[in-house]
Symmetry: C2
Subunit: 328 residues, 2 copies
């Protein structure tokens, strides 16, 4: 094993944020040597991972995710918890670049020594961001962080991806305007362990409470989840701190209950198996392309598709046949 | 070749909707024999496909996609066009079942002989729905439909998937409430060839026009798309038919311009190659699992993950190594 991997791993176990950041950068890198190092580090640290509650936070842009996490994280730090905040933000389809690249969005938390904020790796597709973030969670846990908050941009598959790497999935919403639009994102509501109506301050409190009541009713209509947990809707405000303690109590109750029934571990193992198959799926084609025979066949098939000689579905069937031939 | 495939193919070329529906059902089926039949049919029909404009329509729930498509489709049928409406709606994460299963959402169009409405196949994941819908487009084109409208539920990856199987991508939005929320879905706006502010009727007209103006300004800030097309924002109403003709004119202009620069065909070929790689990626793991040696290795690796002996990333690396070994 490389001396550098060894040194970084030891420093991480001693709680060094500098070493943690270094290891995360290696994990995000696409250079082969960096990959080897980061894999060695994760191998060494693996026995020291897992001892945290992993919380996913989602909600549409404008719902106040960053300010909520800032207040919530401060509350947790006051309880002597060590909080790491990560983000999952795959590059937008046309443009490269990350929306969540800015630490200054969490003005208070970014100044606290027991907190660690890391933006989403930029210029990566969802598959890459997901694999990296899963590893970053492990690294943060090894560095002693006991509360991992993973934020998503609230668009599309990234929510499923964060749900699949966290223990508790929190959906932030707004009362009033746009409510109908948000509420109909049924697929996301089904994934939530709790819905918090944010910005419940000033003249907004009553409408927020009404919205929470409505969502509580809606949640009862959903089928029971496998975990046995009953999701709840509550109100909160990142400005007045209303509901911040309720949120933590809910998550703590969840953790106790899920550990009692052993669903907590069962779910994590399940998540790892899903991640394994997904990552494998995304790596296998590149690997096969290293085989000259196979690569030629792929290129010929793509040519046939371009010349309208074969449909996409039939092209896939013929390539699958080829793989079979190579293997047997 | 099977006589049944031959008969169905001929009937489709003669414009039989019954045969078309039969072929689509075969395409949606997971039974091996049905798959063989549907592949034969698509093989035969492939030379007769491609002669349509493929229009993707997206927008959040509540924006009025169905009523818009109903009015828009009626307008096109009056122009003697043959309109097929398809839907891409992957099963929600927890629950099986399709939201867009209901033909009655398009009350007028569903009664017209030159229109064909087909709901999304139910109980399928996005990968499966995408592959099926791509084939359904081909079948509809062979049956003589010259305008294919593909509707998405407006949540997540399904939008990218529809963008990747259509020529023109139309985003429907609402003025006023929820505007901020919708507007920030920047990734979706970047994909749009046109934005139409729907429900521009009654007291809503002015705010819709204002919103269109704003979006027109926002669209100018986006980088030029590869096609050279300049997306526009307009208003429309499915009730008063305002803007329905504008929408069709825009799409027709797009088609003329894109065919002149040859981007039209270039884009379709590009889409097919992307679809090929994606579908292959999703099929290859199942195929590999048919290899006993490989299956054993996968199961051992999954066991190691469960017992925390190996991280997910390293497990993937070790399996990839194994594939290499099997192939060479």
């Amino acid at each position: 094993m490389n001396q550098l991997s060894k040194d970084i791993s030891e420093d991480i176990l001693n709680g060094s944020k500098v070493a943690l950041s270094k290891a995360i950068t290696l994990t995000e890198s696409t250079l082969p040597y960096d990959k080897i190092l980061s894999q060695e580090i994760i191998d060494v640290l693996l026995p020291f991972t897992g001892n945290s509650i992993r919380i996913g936070v989602t909600g549409v842009t404008g719902v106040g995710k960053s300010t909520f996490i800032d207040s919530f994280g401060m509350y947790l730090c006051n309880l002597k918890r060590k909080v790491a905040v990560l983000a999952v933000d795959p590059s937008s389809v046309t443009n490269k670049g990350s929306i969540l690249g800015d630490k200054t969005r969490m003005q208070n938390l970014s100044k606290i020594d027991s907190a660690y904020i890391r933006p989403s790796p930029s210029g990566k597709a969802l598959g890459g961001v997901t694999e990296t973030t899963r590893n970053v969670i492990l690294l943060c846990e090894a560095a002693g962080f006991d509360t991992i908050i993973v934020e998503t941009v609230g668009v599309g598959q990234s929510e499923v991806s964060v749900k699949n790497m966290t223990d508790f999935f929190l959906l932030l919403m707004l009362a009033g305007a746009g409510d109908e639009l948000q509420g109909m994102k049924r697929g996301i509501m089904e994934m939530a362990d709790a819905i918090f109506i944010n910005k419940a301050d000033g003249g907004n409190i009553d409408s927020a409470k009404q919205a929470a009541q409505l969502y509580n009713m809606a949640l009862q209509l959903f089928p029971n989840s496998e975990s046995g947990w009953k999701p709840k809707a509550e109100v909160c405000s990142a400005i007045t701190n209303l509901g911040i303690d309720t949120c933590w109590k809910l998550i703590s109750d969840f953790e106790v209950q899920m550990k009692r029934t052993n669903y907590f571990n069962k779910n994590r193992k399940q998540q790892e198996l899903i991640a394994f198959r997904e990552t494998f799926r995304y790596s296998i084609v590149d690997k096969l392309m290293n085989n000259t025979l196979f690569k030629e066949k792929i290129e010929k098939t793509e040519n046939d598709i371009s010349e309208n000689k074969i449909s996409v579905s039939n092209a896939v069937q013929s390539i699958l046949y080829e793989v079979n031939f190579l293997i047997n």
